[in-house]
């Protein structure tokens, strides 16, 4: 259930619904509970209006967590234990700073028991308050911004797709929100690998959906029994359900739909000899353009290709376009005349998982590599002096 939406107007130094002994307003010298949200740093709860002697004693007190919580408890509801956090005396007040930030929109119940103060004499009624921070806008606004591969036609042995979002998404895997529909609108069952691992990028804006390789790979039982989810010559519609939640628990703004035309399976290994490398001229910062005969995996293209010279990496920026079949590298510094190398890590794959010199369909025996590094392939190219014809 979504947290109830609180519309608490005051964010900074808010005193919220404190009540003690039936009084709705505390006199200035009485203890009062406030929630403070500083410009930077974590919001905290304070009890102000305490005698300085009591604060002095608290500042040096060695209390257990239970004793602190009996004195001042901040909790998600009246019956819950106090949430984790640190107690301190600061700015003339008793302060509770939670170990984790307060959730926007969630009400927190605060209970201060003056009878637990050092030196307290006689009974005193606890002071309670409900504090909270304003809820976030719950209106769905997050959308799917892009799907890789971007080509209109994908091979029927497509191995994975990257789904990019306009805002960070929640932690759970999103496989359950993906559907593949055939041309009649019927769902193709079991298309995606049913792994509920969180295949997110660190910023939670990109999710990787793997097709079930048991169905993708030719000649194996799931493939023979169910066939590939994608069939050459047909079209499918990828539907991403709006129920998928973003990091604030909001559904997507809308369903996302994209039609994919399916082409023949791609079973050939990558062959760097088929790549077209167009070197720039020296003295400028024109892009080095590398064109591939078929689309490659977008994520791997971003990091498995680079430029080197004299055993050092060349700094620059990469642009990938033409449906992931063109890679353009613009150096930070102008090109110098001489020999550079295009470097390709052997982890580079096309959209069907075929690697350089190794097709996805080929079984092979890997070995334990002594080096943590993948192998690389170096492709030399010459940058001619400016003005050379």
């Amino acid at each position: 259930m979504r947290p109830r939406l609180l519309r608490l107007a005051a964010v900074t130094a808010s005193l919220v619904t404190a009540a003690a002994c039936g009084r709705s307003v505390n006199p200035p010298s009485s203890p009062a509970i406030t929630l403070t949200s500083p410009q930077s740093g974590r919001a905290y709860v304070e009890v102000t209006g305490l005698p300085s002697a009591a604060l002095g004693a608290l500042a040096t007190a060695s209390l257990s967590n239970e004793q602190w919580s009996a004195l001042l408890r901040v909790a998600v509801d009246d019956n819950a234990p106090g949430m984790l956090g640190d107690y301190s005396v600061a700015g003339g007040a008793l302060r509770f700073t939670p170990a984790f930030p307060f959730d926007p929109g969630r009400p927190y119940k605060v209970r201060f028991d003056p009878a637990r103060l050092p030196g307290a004499t006689g009974p005193a009624a606890p002071i309670v308050a409900t504090v909270g921070q304003p809820a976030r806008d719950a209106t769905p606004s997050t959308v799917v911004t892009r799907i890789y591969p971007t080509a209109d036609v994908v091979p029927e042995n497509l191995l994975r797709m990257y789904i990019e979002f306009s805002e960070p998404m929640g932690r759970p895997s999103g496989v359950e929100h993906l559907k593949l529909l055939d041309e009649s609108g019927q769902e193709i069952p079991g298309a995606f690998l049913p792994l509920d691992y969180e295949f997110w990028s660190p910023d939670h804006r990109r999710f990787t959906a793997f097709f079930d390789p048991g169905r993708v790979k030719g000649g194996i039982l799931p493939n023979q029994q169910m066939g590939r989810a994608l069939r050459a010559g047909r079209s499918v519609t990828l539907v991403i359900g709006h129920e998928w939640r973003d990091q604030y628990g909001r559904a997507l703004k809308e369903d996302f739909r994209r039609v994919l035309r399916v082409g023949p399976a791609e079973n050939r290994p990558l062959d760097t000899a088929t790549w077209r490398v167009q070197p720039p001229a020296a003295g400028g910062r024109d892009g080095l353009v590398v064109t591939f005969p078929r689309p490659l995996d977008h994520a791997l293209l971003m990091r498995a290709l680079g430029v080197r010279r004299d055993d050092a990496s060349v700094e620059g920026d990469v642009v990938i376009d033409q449906a992931e079949s063109r890679w353009t590298f613009t150096p930070t510094q102008p090109w110098r005349a001489g020999t550079y190398q295009l470097l390709a890590l052997d982890t580079l794959e096309d959209v069907a998982g075929n690697q350089i010199g190794r097709a996805f369909e080929v079984d092979n025996f890997d070995t334990v590599d002594k080096s943590p590094n993948p192998k690389s392939i170096l492709i030399p190219f010459r940058v001619a002096p400016a003005g050379t014809d």
Binding site: D77, P202, R276, Q278, L343, D369
Partner: protein
């Protein structure tokens, strides 16, 4: 100018295989106090009480010396209903915002440790809790914990301008055996399951090996099928790993074979059915026999006698039936089990999900 570029483009046919040393390749080992975990996932205890914690977001493994924080609790671990709600209360949030990512039992105190992620998205934060025999939940403060950290070899970036590498690693399971921490993991980019051995104390990490198995249901030698869960186990006086793969071969391989530069092939000894993955597994002894207990995402809990493992006929030909290999029985009394560990010689402790979606910590007699 364009003509010139086209001519120079003809130079490219020369390809060199080389050993690469581009940026950020070697794993970094770090030590100190107060580890900064970006996330917390699978847990595993070493025999001396060192707690290994995987940080998927940070692509690292931490070895945590919990110090005095392991003491003071009642021995054992008590079952707790609505564990997610109880943890959420301590974390100051709602149960929906809490993900229990693993469960491990301390080898001496038998207290249960649960790793938790609080919140969603990139802002989610890790937390670690201890649950003792009286049902008390204690937060483990990481500020005072001494640690060693090793970074998993993230595929290096050939292009140094790729400032934010969106690749992450998903550690699926860890176990300590033979002086090494064994780590199985997947990536969110290249589709390849890797098993790595990390000597402890941490020093180096190998690149990992794709342990070759014959997948009877898939009628093929698989190199890329993900290892979901595994346990160390001794067969014929030789240390092995017993591993559960997706869709669901059970595989044994001697870990003495897993040496740099050698070819490795696991032996498939069972097929437990397609459309399934192993969530967790433990080994226990009952009535003089040893058993493997596996929790599965779509096929419930399975109890598998280990006696046939050593001499089990390897599955090397296509399996046309749904299951094959060493016998097993389904444990229908255990429902919704997501995490599993052995609490003591007669009891399992499990994280289970109720029909309503809530998470319970349960203690269950070993079947």
């Amino acid at each position: 100018m364009r003509d010139l570029r086209a001519k120079l483009g003809l130079l490219v046919a020369f390809v060199i295989l080389a050993s690469l040393s581009p940026s950020s390749a070697l794993p970094v080992v770090d030590t100190g106090q107060g580890p900064a975990l970006a996330s917390i996932g699978p847990l595993a205890f070493g025999p001396d009480g060192t707690l290994f914690a995987a940080d998927n977001q940070g692509a690292a493994i931490f070895a945590l010396d919990l110090g005095a924080q392991v003491n003071g609790g009642a021995p054992g671990a008590k079952a707790l209903d609505a564990l997610d709600e109880k943890l959420a209360a301590l974390l100051g949030t709602g149960a929906r915002e809490v993900s229990v990512t693993d469960l491990a039992v301390h080898p001496r105190t038998r207290n249960a440790y649960v790793s938790v992620m609080r919140g969603q998205g990139a802002g989610a934060a890790p937390a670690l809790f201890r649950i003792d025999g009286a049902g008390q939940i204690a937060n483990i403060s990481l500020q005072t914990v001494k640690f060693q950290k090793v970074e998993l070899p993230n595929a290096p970036v050939a292009n140094t301008s790729a400032r934010q590498n969106p690749r992450t690693q998903v550690v699926t399971d860890m176990a300590f055996a033979d002086g090494r921490l064994w780590v199985a993991g997947l990536s969110n980019e290249e589709f390849a399951s890797k098993l790595r051995a990390i000597p402890y104390p941490f020093a180096t990490v190998d690149r990992g090996v794709s342990v070759e198995i014959y997948h009877g249901n898939h009628k093929a030698v698989e190199t890329r099928s993900p290892v979901n869960a595994f346990v160390p186990y001794t067969l014929n006086n030789q240390q092995h790993l017993i591993a559960g793969y997706t869709c669901t071969p059970l595989v044994k391989f001697p870990i003495t074979d897993l040496k740099a530069g050698e070819k490795v092939r696991g032996t498939t000894i069972a097929e437990f059915g397609a459309g399934n993955r192993v969530l967790d597994m433990i080994v226990y002894k009952k009535g003089g026999q040893e058993f493997l207990l596996t929790a599965n995402n779509s096929r419930g809990v399975m109890k598998i006698p280990t006696a046939p493992f050593a001499s089990a006929k390897p599955i090397t030909t296509p399996v046309e039936s749904e299951t094959a290999g060493v016998p097993f029985e389904k444990v229908t009394s255990m429902m919704g089990v997501e995490q599993l560990d052995k609490l003591d010689d007669t009891t399992a402790i499990v994280i289970s999900r109720s029909a309503s979606g809530g998470i319970n910590l349960q203690t269950v007699p070993l079947p």
